[in-house]
C-alpha cells in the first residue's frame, strides 16, 4: 500500500485517494472544438513509463492536487495543491 502526500493532510494510505487523470489535460471549450482535439481530451492518455504528473483527490479532505510519481518504482516525487505551492 502506497503512501501519498496530500498537500493539506500529509502522508496517507493510498486507499484514501482517487485518481483524477493526467495533469495538464486542458479542457477545450466550445461546440466547434475540432473532434480530434475533443477525442484526445476525452480518451488519449500518455501512460508514461517513469515520471508521471497526475491529478489525485484526497477523498477524506476533498482536495484535488497534482502529484508527480514514478510509475515503475512507485516513488512519489512531489505533490502540490492545484494552486501551485509545493508540499511534498
Amino acid at each position: 500500500m502506497q503512501l501519498f502526500p496530500c498537500p493539506f493532510c500529509g502522508p496517507r494510505d493510498e486507499t484514501e485517494f482517487h485518481y483524477g487523470g493526467d495533469a495538464g489535460n486542458i479542457r477545450p471549450d466550445g461546440a466547434d472544438v475540432p473532434i480530434d482535439r475533443w477525442a484526445d481530451y476525452l480518451y488519449l492518455r500518455t501512460n508514461p513509463k517513469g515520471t508521471a504528473r497526475e491529478i489525485w483527490v484526497h477523498m477524506t479532505c476533498g482536495e484535488f492536487f497534482v502529484m508527480e510519481r514514478d510509475t515503475v518504482s512507485h516513488k512519489v516525487l512531489s505533490s502540490a495543491a492545484l494552486g501551485g505551492e509545493h508540499a511534498a
Binding site: 500500500m1 502506497q2 503512501l3 493510498e14 482517487h18 483524477g20 479542457r27 477545450p28 471549450d29 466550445g30 461546440a31 472544438v33 473532434i35 475533443w38 481530451y41 476525452l42 491529478i55 483527490v57 477523498m59 476533498g62 482536495e63 484535488f64 518504482s73 512507485h74 492545484l82 494552486g83
Partner: protein, 961 residues
C-alpha cells in the same frame, strides 16, 4: 523408520505436561511444546499424507514453514484446512486429519493412481480440458482436486483484530542475526519491533551449536530478549511477516493459541531488517519422496528441541558442511550413522562414531510405505530406517524479492543472494548468505550502522566453534533414471520438467504454470531452486539466466479472516439508514437496500407483498400518499459564481431560474451521456440546492468538487453536502394540499404563493421547514424538508392528519410504479452508458444553448447524430397479457437473423390503469409511436406497441389538481 522419544533432553518440550490428540482417528501422545509433526515422529508415524496428484505416501520432510508434505486439516472451533504439521503446536484434544487421503493417509483408496503415473504427466489435466468432451471427466477430476477440506459448517468465533503500527526499525526473524540487529538498533536509540514466526526466539540457535560473548546460545538469547523487552521494544512471537507491499508496508499475521482469531498487523517502519534465515534443500535421487526421508537440519531440530530421534540406522546424504553437525549429534544420541558426502575433497572431518563415505551420492531409495535402504551411485546398498538429506541452503529472500529486490547468483553458496540493496531494507544473516556466527554478527553490525545512527554499539562476538559453508552444487540432472521428485507437494519430477522443456515451456514462469512446480501451500520453498537449476541444465543455460519466478505475498498462507478483520457481515458494506427507520419498522415496513440506503420497500409486512405494493400505488392516486424521501440528495452550491457554476454543470440553463423556484435537469458526463437527473432549487441569487438521485449523492458531490477546484477556483463557489442533515417527507396526491392545510406550517399553501416547481419556507414546531412543490408521481406533491432529528413529530402529525383522507404510507416499490405510469425515468435503469439527453426527448439545450456545459461537444459527434439511436419509449402489451419482463429485447429479423432493436428498462402492473406499463429504449423509438414490435424473452416472443413514455394523465393537470 523407527523414530522414538529419548528419555531426556528436548529444549522445547515440557515433560510435566503430557498431551493427547488424534490424527486420522488414532491417538497421539506428546508434550506441551511439541508440534503436531514432532509428536507424530515421536510416535513413529511415518505416513502423514498423500501427494497431490499421484496419492503417493508422504512423510514429514521439514521442521518449519517449508514443509511440503505434512499438511493436516485441524477440526473443531478453530478449524483450519491445510495447516503445516511442522508449525502447528500440538494441543490437548486437537483433532487432525491428513489431507488428500481417504479414509486415512496410511490406507488411501486413491493410492492406485500412482501406478498410472506415466499416463498422467505434467499438463495432463490441461490437455484433458482441451478434449472436446472433457465435461465427462469433470466431476471426477473436481472430486480429486485440492488438498484439505473446508468445513462448510464452520462459523467464525469472532473477527480478527487489525493493528496499524509504526516504528523506526522492523526486524523480521529472531535468530542470531535478527536478535543481534534488534539489540544494536535498540542500543542506538531506535524504536524496534522484532517479529518471529516461532513461539520462542532464537531461530537456528535453538538446535545448532553456538557460544556468544562467552555464554551458551540459550543464555545470550534470553539476555537479548530481556534487554529489548525491558527497554519497551515490541517483540511479537508466533508472527509471520508475510508480505512487503508498496512503500515498505509490511503485513504481519500474528497467531494466538487461546482461541482468538489471528491478528493482522500493518507496519510502517522507517527501516526493515530482514533476518529470515535459510531453508535446506533436498537432493535428487530416485524415490527421494519416500516417508522416512527428511531434511537433515529438521532431524537435528527434532532431536535437540523435542528429544525425538528420527531413526536407529540412519544414512545422512549431503553435498555441504552443515550435515556434519547433524550426523555427529545423531550418533551421539545412539543412532548408527553413515554420512554419504558427494565431495571427495575438502570435507570436514568425520564426527565421532560416524562412518563417512566420501565421493558418493545416493542413486535411489527403496521401501514401500517407508524407506528401508538406499543404493549409492557405485551400486553399494545401505540398510536404513531413516535417510536424512542436506542439498544445501536456499536463503529466504522472499520478502526482499517482494520489495522488488534484485537477486545475485552466488556460485560459492550455490544460491541466489540479495543483490543491489533496496531503499530502506537491509538483509542479514543466513538470508544474506552468512554461515558462521562471526559473519552473521558482522553483517548485523554493518546493517545497523547503515541506518545512519551516530551512537554505535559493538555487535556480539562468536566465541565458540564456527560453522563452515563448504558446498558442491548437486542439482537434478537431465536424463536421470527413476522417478526423482523435485516438488513434493505438486508431484513434479525430473521427467515433468524435461517434458515442459520439450514442449517449449522453458521460461521459468511457464515452467511453473505448466508443471505446477512451486505452487500450492508451500510455494516451492524446497523445490523452486532445484527445478530451475534442472531447467538450466536441460536448456544449456546458467541458473541466473533461467532466473526465478516473481516473489509475491503471502510468504505463508494467511487466513482470509485476518484480511477481512471487522469488515464482515453487515460491516462488509454498511448501509445508510433513514432517520425514521424505527418509526417505519413499527408501521410494518419491509426494508430493502436501494443504492446503499436501507429504505421501506413497502408496508404491511412480508405476507403478500405484491398486493401491498399494488394497494399502495392505487390508493396513492385516489387520495393522498405519504412517503419518506429523506435519501434525496441535498447538495448546496453557494457563492458569487454559483449561477455560472450550475450552468456549466447542468445540461439545462439554470441561471435563469428565479429565487424560490425549482427546475428539473440533467447532468452529463464529458462524453455526453446522462449522468444524473434531478431538481435544482434556487434559494437565492447565490445559493442553489442540487437535489440529485438518492444513490448518486456521493458521485455528484465528487463531480461538483472536481469542477469547482479545477475550473472555478476555491473561492468562486462553496459546496456543502447537506443530504443527511435533513429528512424529507413527501405528501402526494389529489388531497395533498388539504392534508397539509391541517398542519400549522407558517406559510401560505395558496397556489399563487406556492405553485408547482416553487419552494416555500415555513416553521414547524419552532424548526424551519422547506417545502418544495416537485413531483415524482405526477400528482400534486409537497416535499417537506426538516432537521433530521425533528422529523419524527412531523411525520406523526402527517399520519394523524392523513386519517381524515384515507392517506396511505407508501414504500419505494409503489413509488416506482407511480413514476413509471408517468414515464419518469430512473438514471441507470431507464438509461445506460450510451444514453444522450436527446435520446430521452430533451433536445432543447442541445440545439439552443450558447454557453459551455459539461459534455457539450460530445452531443455533436457523428455518433450523437446517428438516426437510429435508442430512444426512450413507453410499451403496451395486448389486453390481458402480463407485464413484459424487464430486460427483454425488442427484436427484428434482418436477412433471416434475429437482431435486437432495444430493450425493456422498466415494467410494472399499474393498479390504477388496470394494465401493465413499461418503459424501454428502442431504436428510432420516438418516431415509431403506434408501431407494434416483437419482444423476445428466454426464447418466447410476444407483442408490444410503442407509445409515448407517459401512460397516465398525459395532460399533466393532476399536478395542479
Amino acid at each position: 523408520m523407527t523414530a522414538s522419544r529419548l528419555a531426556t533432553g528436548g529444549s522445547a518440550i515440557d515433560r510435566s505436561h503430557p498431551i493427547r490428540f488424534s490424527f486420522d482417528g488414532a491417538t497421539v501422545h506428546g508434550f506441551a511444546g511439541d508440534t503436531i509433526a514432532s509428536a507424530l515422529l515421536a510416535g513413529d508415524v511415518a505416513v502423514v499424507g498423500r501427494s497431490f496428484k499421484y496419492h503417493r505416501p508422504r512423510g514429514i520432510w521439514g521442521a518449519g514453514v517449508e514443509e511440503p508434505n505434512a499438511l493436516v486439516d485441524i477440526g473443531g472451533l478453530r478449524a483450519t484446512p491445510n495447516t503445516r504439521a511442522t508449525t502447528e503446536p500440538a494441543r490437548d484434544g486437537l483433532v487432525a486429519r491428513s489431507v488428500n487421503a481417504t479414509p486415512s493417509a496410511l490406507a488411501d483408496r486413491n493410492a492406485f493412481l500412482d501406478r498410472f503415473a506415466r499416463f498422467i504427466p505434467a499438463a495432463f489435466y490441461y490437455k484433458t480440458f482441451m478434449w472436446p468432451e472433457w465435461h465427462r471427466f469433470e466431476p471426477r477430476i473436481r472430486a480429486m482436486a485440492g488438498l484439505g477440506k473446508v468445513d462448510a459448517d464452520w462459523a467464525s468465533p469472532g473477527t480478527a483484530d487489525q493493528v496499524n503500527h509504526h516504528c523506526d526499525v522492523l526486524v523480521v526473524g529472531a535468530g542470531p542475526a535478527g536478535l543481534a540487529a534488534a539489540r544494536l538498533a535498540a542500543d542506538a536509540g531506535l524504536s524496534v519491533t522484532l517479529v518471529d514466526d516461532q513461539q520462542n526466539p532464537g531461530g537456528s540457535l535453538g538446535h545448532r551449536a553456538g557460544e556468544i560473548d562467552g555464554k551458551p546460545a540459550a543464555a545470550w538469547i534470553a539476555e537479548t530478549v530481556a534487554a529489548l523487552a525491558s527497554a519497551g521494544h515490541l517483540i511479537l512471537p508466533s508472527t509471520t511477516a508475510f508480505g512487503i507491499y508498496d512503500h515498505n508496508l509490511v503485513g504481519l499475521n500474528q497467531r494466538h493459541f487461546d482461541g482468538r482469531p489471528d491478528t493482522l498487523w500493518r507496519v510502517r517502519p522507517r527501516r526493515i531488517v530482514l533476518a529470515t534465515g535459510a531453508i535446506e534443500r533436498p537432493l535428487p535421487f530416485a524415490n527421494n519422496d519416500l516417508p522416512g526421508i527428511l531434511s537433515a537440519d529438521a532431524a537435528l531440530a527434532y532431536l535437540r528441541r523435542h528429544a525425538v530421534l528420527v531413526g536407529r540406522r540412519i544414512v545422512v546424504a549431503t553435498n555441504n558442511d552443515s550435515a556434519y553437525e547433524t550426523a555427529g549429534a545423531l550418533a551421539e544420541a545412539g543412532a548408527e550413522v553413515r554420512l554419504v558426502d558427494l565431495r571427495r575433497d575438502g570435507t570436514p572431518n568425520a564426527p565421532a562414531n560416524v562412518r563417512l563415505i566420501k565421493g558418493r551420492a545416493l542413486a535411489s531409495a527403496s521401501g514401500k510405505l517407508r524407506v528401508d535402504g538406499v543404493t549409492l551411485d557405485d551400486g553399494t546398498k545401505l540398510d536404513a530406517d531413516c535417510v536424512l538429506i542436506s542439498g544445501g541452503w536456499t536463503p529466504t529472500i522472499h520478502l526482499f524479492g517482494q520489495a522488488k529486490g534484485k537477486l545475485a547468483w552466488s556460485e560459492a553458496r550455490a544460491a541466489f543472494l540479495p543483490g543491489d540493496p533496496v531503499d530502506g531494507i537491509a538483509v542479514v544473516g543466513a538470508a544474506a548468505g552468512a554461515v558462521s556466527l562471526s559473519e552473521v554478527f558482522a553483517g548485523a553490525g554493518t546493517a545497523v550502522a547503515s541506518l545512519g545512527q551516530t551512537k554505535a554499539a559493538l555487535p556480539p562476538r562468536s566465541t565458540g566453534p564456527e560453522a563452515t559453508g563448504g558446498i558442491t552444487a548437486a542439482w537434478p540432472l537431465p536424463g536421470s533414471k527413476g522417478r526423482i521428485w523435485i516438488d513434493y507437494q505438486n508431484d513434479v519430477t525430473v521427467k515433468d520438467v524435461e517434458l515442459a522443456a520439450r514442449e517449449n515451456f522453458v521460461s521459468v514462469e511457464h515452467l511453473k504454470r505448466y508443471t505446477t512446480l512451486g505452487m500450492a501451500t508451500d510455494q516451492g520453498k524446497t523445490s523452486n531452486l532445484p527445478g530451475l537449476a534442472l531447467m538450466a541444465g536441460i536448456t544449456g543455460r546458467t541458473v541466473p539466466e533461467v532466473g526465478t519466478t516473481t516473489y509475491r505475498p503471502p510468504f505463508t498462507p494467511v487466513p482470509l479472516a485476518s484480511f477481512a478483520g471487522a469488515r464482515v457481515g453487515e460491516l462488509m458494506a454498511p448501509v445508510r439508514r433513514l432517520p425514521l427507520e424505527n418509526v417505519h419498522r413499527s408501521s410494518g415496513a419491509v426494508f430493502q437496500e436501494y443504492g446503499g440506503w436501507l429504505r421501506p420497500a413497502h408496508y404491511g409486512g412480508n405476507a403478500d407483498s405484491e398486493r401491498s405494493i399494488a394497494d399502495e400505488a392505487r390508493r396513492a392516486r385516489q387520495s393522498v400518499a405519504l412517503f419518506d424521501g429523506s435519501t434525496l440528495g441535498k447538495i448546496e452550491v453557494i457563492g458569487l459564481q454559483a449561477a455560472a457554476f450550475v450552468d456549466f454543470l447542468y445540461y439545462n440553463t439554470m441561471s435563469t431560474l428565479k429565487p424560490g423556484r425549482c427546475r428539473y435537469g440533467f447532468m452529463l458526463s464529458e462524453n455526453g451521456v446522462v449522468f444524473d437527473d434531478g431538481v435544482l432549487v434556487r434559494l437565492d441569487e447565490q445559493r442553489f440546492v442540487v437535489s440529485c438521485s438518492s444513490s448518486h449523492v456521493a458521485a455528484v458531490h465528487a463531480r461538483l468538487e472536481e469542477w469547482r477546484q479545477d475550473r472555478f477556483g476555491h473561492g468562486a463557489v462553496y459546496i456543502h453536502n447537506a443530504t443527511s442533515d435533513m429528512a424529507t417527507l413527501t405528501v402526494s396526491g389529489p388531497n395533498a394540499r388539504k392534508l397539509l392545510e391541517m398542519l400549522e406550517l407558517g406559510l401560505s399553501l395558496d397556489d399563487a404563493d406556492l405553485p408547482h416547481m416553487a419552494i416555500g419556507h415555513g416553521i414547524y414546531a419552532g424548526d424551519e421547514v422547506r417545502i418544495a412543490r416537485v413531483s415524482f408521481t405526477g400528482d400534486r406533491s409537497y416535499e417537506i424538508s426538516i432537521r433530521a432529528d425533528r422529523a419524527e413529530p412531523l411525520w406523526a402529525q402527517l399520519r394523524q392528519a392523513g386519517q381524515t383522507f384515507d392517506a396511505v404510507v407508501i414504500g419505494l416499490e409503489a413509488l416506482m410504479i407511480l413514476r413509471a405510469e408517468k414515464g419518469f425515468i430512473v438514471i441507470g435503469k431507464d438509461t445506460d452508458g450510451t444514453t444522450l439527453p436527446h435520446d430521452l426527448g430533451v433536445d432543447g439545450p442541445r440545439t439552443k444553448r450558447q454557453t459551455e456545459f459539461v459534455g457539450r461537444r460530445s452531443l455533436f459527434t457523428e455518433e450523437a447524430s446517428r438516426d437510429n439511436r435508442m430512444q426512450l419509449v413507453g410499451l403496451t402489451v395486448p389486453q390481458g397479457e402480463a407485464p413484459l419482463p424487464t430486460g427483454a429485447h425488442g427484436i427484428k429479423r434482418i436477412d433471416g437473423r434475429l437482431r435486437s432493436q432495444g430493450f425493456v428498462t422498466s415494467s410494472y402492473q399499474s393498479p390504477t390503469l388496470g394494465r401493465p406499463v413499461a418503459l424501454g429504449l428502442i431504436e428510432r423509438g420516438a418516431a415509431r409511436h403506434g408501431e407494434t414490435i416483437d419482444i423476445q424473452h428466454l426464447g418466447k416472443i410476444s407483442k408490444a406497441t410503442i407509445t409515448a413514455p407517459c401512460a397516465f394523465n398525459p395532460a399533466g393537470d393532476r399536478l395542479h389538481a
